[in-house]
Amino acid sequence: MSRTITVAVCAAWLCLGGAAIAHHSVGINFDNTKAFNLTGVLKEIDIRNPHSQITLTAQGADGVAKDWFIEWSDKNALIRRKVKYEQMKIGDTVTIRVSPSRRLENVGYFQSATLAGGVILRDCGAGALADAVEKGADLDCPQVAR
């Protein structure tokens, strides 16, 4: 009897532990099934909470330059996940891959950035840190474009 209870409790714990966070604000506000590259000049870089924001002046297909507002992870998460955001400098020409906002024009969510010299910058997210902690390992976030 007690063994049955123990097994049931362990099974429930494992099931709950394996459940993923079903939704978060990125998925609500941005269409993660789509992504495209924007190449332009970094106008503003605000690494902050609750969301970082990058303003990129990029030329559209019509040849007109306009500002894109690119949302990114919160500052604390970027620090905790050791993302080297300080490598981006105002005035640099970069290519940022973004997912578009579902409702707002010229707004996207940061997926990765290709900096001068081909350096790739990205944040692997909360799940990657949790996986590393669970395994007792350091966070492994390959800096590749996605």
Binding site: A19, I21, H23, I28, N29, P50, H51, S73, I79, A130
Partner: protein, 243 residues
């Protein structure tokens, strides 16, 4: 084979002997210190979500760009706070109270632990944000149980279960269950205005080795999506006390 069986028998007998020798309160409290530390969320699950017609109508009206008080740097509820995937929480236990600190929005909660103390008679646990209600804690074995009332009507959650609202009849029970380097926080929410039956959300946490909370320092003008759309309507928000 015989050796293995003998070893097993010895282990069982030793455990049984410890159960006899140790006083019951000591056994019941052995895992409490495991709650202390800095924790990151690693999966959540909501069960028994059955909305009343009013709850369903409120959810249908939800606008994710405008309705979340976090867009003004205000934490809607502890459920909303814990559903934020990146910022961790910290627990420190004291003799007669628990500190539960949430990195998200710099929420510092101080829950009195006293058997028999009713939540309605307890203080606001986050004076800066009184809409988060009054809470009283007690121990059930190794589980810290926190009961809350006097919660203000408003948005309940924008993450995990986006678009849920609560009335001022909402009452919650949070159970902090230690398990080594893992912890569960099981939140039971009773609100007859929005829920047909009590709803339960379970948050699974992992202890962050050498973890420390950082300051959040949220600035309202930078938090909302109005920075992209200045004509967006603004919703009434819970009052935030001056610091």
């Amino acid at each position: 084979m015989r050796t293995a069986r003998s070893s097993g028998l010895i282990a069982v007998c030793t455990a049984a002997a410890l159960l006899v020798v140790l006083p019951v309160p000591a056994r019941a409290q052995a895992k409490r210190p495991e709650l202390q530390g800095v924790w990151i969320v690693n999966g959540t699950r909501t069960d028994n979500l059955k909305l009343t017609p009013e709850g369903a109508a409120a959810r249908a009206r939800y606008d994710h760009l405008h309705d979340d008080p976090a867009m003004r740097c205000i934490p809607a509820t502890f459920k909303r706070v814990m559903h934020t995937p990146s910022p961790p929480i910290e627990i420190k236990l004291h003799d007669d109270y628990a500190e539960i600190n949430y990195e998200f929005m710099d929420v510092h909660r101080r829950v009195p632990i006293k058997a028999g103390l009713a939540a309605k008679d307890a203080p606001y646990t986050v004076p800066q944000f009184p809409h988060l209600g009054r809470s009283a804690g007690h121990w059930e074995g190794d589980t810290l149980v926190v009961e809350s009332t006097d919660l203000k009507a408003g948005l309940l959650d924008s993450l995990g279960d986006p678009g849920l609202w609560q009335s001022d009849r909402m009452q919650t029970v949070e159970r902090f269950v230690p398990n080594g380097n893992q912890m569960q926080v099981i939140v039971t929410m009773t609100d007859p205005v929005h829920f047909l039956e009590p709803v339960t959300t379970t948050f699974n946490y992992l202890k962050l080795p050498d973890g420390q909370l950082l300051t959040w320092d949220c600035v309202p003008e930078e938090a909302g999506y109005e920075r992209f759309n200045e004509n967006a309507p603004k919703q009434p928000l819970p009052q935030r006390n001056a610091q």
